[in-house]
Amino acid sequence: MVSHRSRTAFAIGAAAVTVALLVTGCSAGSSSSSTKSSTIVIDRVFDLKTADPSRQYEPTGAIVDKALYETLLTFSGSDVSKTVPGLATVEASADSKTFTVTLGDGHVFSDGSPVTADDVVFSLNRVIGMKGNPSFLLSGVTVTKKDDKTVILTSATSNPALPFILPNPSLSILNSKVVIANGGTTDEKDSAEAYLNANSAGSGPYVLDTLDLTSQVVLTTNPKYSGDDKPTYSRVVLRNVESATQKINIEGGDSQVALDLSGDQASGLGSGITVASTPSANVIFLLLNQNSKVSTITSNPDFVSAVKKSINYDDLVSLAGKGAAQANGIVPSMFLGALGSADKTTYDKTGAAADLAASGYKGEKVTLSFPSDISLNGVEFTVLAQRIQSQLKDAGITVDLAPAPVATEFAAYRDGKEALGLWYWGPDFPDPSNYLEFAPGGVVGLRAGWPEGSDATVTAAATAARAGGSNDERATQFTTYQKALNATGPFIPLVQPANNIASASSVTGVEYNAVWTIDIAALGSK
């Protein structure tokens, strides 16, 4: 355990050296000590680009904005299968094209002004009009004010998923007067981002104290917060910390919550620390390009089948660590319509050999491209890729690894130029319809060189699933879709890595949410 004396001695020693270094005639004023009371420290590997909710679309941004802002609808705890009222209640029309938003009473922003329909209209129109990263969430949606308490959302097409999209922190409601005063507009000329990175303009339980995109975000309680559940911690420090250090920090009491421990790290934690391990909603998959211009090998159906059977899924799951699970289908396990373990693809050495022989593969090198700088819930793509390479080698398939930073590699992936690719899909909203993009001609389908009309079975299943219906009907439709995809599709769902949230035992209310990872305001103490 930490010896406080030795740590103090280290600090003093270091300070002595620093003092010696400083050529400062330091005029020491009275020691104005810094705040320490009721602070909670949360360690996170940052992927933060902005705190402006209408621009951010990163998991860390969602954590921050969930604490600073409120949305029209929200989820309770970790349950993302049904929405609950947030700032408003929403009623959908039968055709899922018109949604009536009715604002609740008594919601005020941090400057004390009430949340109005104008704020809702401005905030949502700003998301759409700025054409920032999250604007596709509301594509085809128009927002109109009906009266001071009511707003109408109209979708061009049937949009049953919209209520599940609205809780996304990117669709937070901002204080329109403040934002407009600081350069906010509802088009691309908007210049309020700088302001929103230094101040918050929301009605959430916290306000932004300081923000440094690379090191830390500090939140303090919003005294005007109108919700019933006032936050326990008056100051929140969300720090950018590498996962190995997160482990040390939480073991040493330097932090109270660690969000990015790998399975290996989480299983080695000492007593006094609680770990919540749940499979995350991220699905890591392998894609085999069906475009013969890209690769004549990967576009061979027998070869695709051989690869599916050559992979030792259990081995990959154990590599991903504690709490990880095999992705039975492309839809993650906690969503409606997820596949059961009976329908998962399994390792089949002899079947693989037969398929490989049938494919006419002659030992050519296949290039596996992957983003080398991505580490998802503690699972490093580089590690995973090496294991896949090794497994395929055992099956007689020669794989050449081509790592590149995601910035460079993503372009090739998006343009459908990768023969073999290792990627993941994180859901935009907790509804299986998000996964229809994997169908032929879908966004991800095209990345695998799989245009419309490539696979009639899958396309038919996808069309049926898109049509909607009752929950049971939809569940069946999506199961069928995924079975078809597993059978003939160019995607191989591999792993849902675990989300390990480690917290000091004194911290309560730690719950993983697939949309915003963790609700800071819900954290309590005992």
């Binding site: 290996d264 090496q386 690894l401 930073p405």
Partner: protein, 289 residues
């Protein structure tokens, strides 16, 4: 420090420089032998992931296993065959490019000299690693690309050294008398100047092998060098970042780098004592990482 001296290489074996140099040479040679024999002496296939993951040293693995169940010891010795030859290649290429450009600059002077020296200024204004990083990012991660990136930042020191030596020699007796006798400048460049600059260049180059290893493994550490699953020491160290509990993942490859670099630096230091007791250090030669 452009005030150069003309000295034919002289051998003075310092009382202690020589033994250190011999120790260095022995260690360096040992690593080179290991590099050649790695496939024979490695107890396991360095790429095979057939052992239990993250096993501590001892038992059937000398240095434990990594996060994919590969034998750290086997990877360590096969790593010698990855970094050392490339570092040597890098130094040889740097010396070639640097001395050629430096001789041209020093011998022909005027605008040729100005141009070449301004380019070295430009390259030297960048910190080595950051420039190499940008280049490696541009070329894509691979060890050979890391060598190219490192080459771009490492030739100027040779160019400057050579230019300084050539400038000093150009006005010296034998070159001047050669000119009076009507020999061509190329002849004097080759006959009179080359033998005189070999000593300092050799010293700088021998000290640079260590730098080259540090630079290449540093780039690999940042993910801009060796591609997985290559057993490269720098990337082995970076694998250790996520696995602090498994100290053996990082400690041994780091020690490997350290011993090789120290060995080459011992040799270089002894060579400096022997060939060029003063000038090499004064010109700011030596590692810059």
């Amino acid at each position: 420090m452009m005030n150069t001296r003309i000295k034919r290489p002289r051998i003075h074996l310092g009382a202690w420089g020589a033994p250190l140099g011999i120790i260095g040479a022995v260690i360096a040679l040992a690593w080179i032998v290991v590099a050649f024999l790695a496939p024979v002496i490695a107890p396991h296939d360095p790429l095979a992931q057939d052992l239990p993951r993250l096993q501590a040293p001892g038992g059937d693995t000398i240095l434990g296993t990594d996060s994919l169940g590969r034998d750290v010891f086997s990877r360590l010795i096969s790593g010698a065959g990855v970094t050392i030859p490339l570092a040597l290649l890098l130094v040889v290429l740097s010396v070639l490019i640097g001395t050629i450009l430096g001789s041209i600059a020093g011998f022909f002077g005027r605008w040729v000299d100005e141009t070449i020296m301004r380019i070295t200024d430009l390259v030297m204004a960048f910190p080595t690693v950051i420039l190499a990083m940008v280049i490696a990012a541009a070329l894509g991660a691979s060890l050979l690309n890391a060598v190219y990136a490192a080459l771009i930042v490492s030739w100027p020191s040779y160019a400057r050294l050579t230019r300084g030596l050539v400038l000093g020699l150009r006005s010296s007796n034998y070159v001047v008398s050669g000119r009076l006798l009507g020999f061509s400048p190329w002849r004097s460049l080759w006959r009179d100047i080359a033998p005189n600059i070999i000593g300092p260049i050799l010293v700088l180059a021998s000290l640079d092998i260590g730098t080259a290893i540090l630079l290449l493994s540093g780039l690999s550490f940042l993910g801009l060098g060796a591609k997985p699953p290559t057993a490269e020491w720098g990337s082995m160290v970076s694998d250790a970042i996520g696995n602090f509990d498994q100290w053996w993942l990082g400690v041994f490859p780091g020690l490997a780098i350290l011993t090789v670099v120290v060995a080459f630096n011992f040799v270089g230091d002894a060579l400096r004592d022997a060939l060029d007791p003063k000038s090499a250090t004064l010109r700011g030669g030596g590692p810059t990482l």
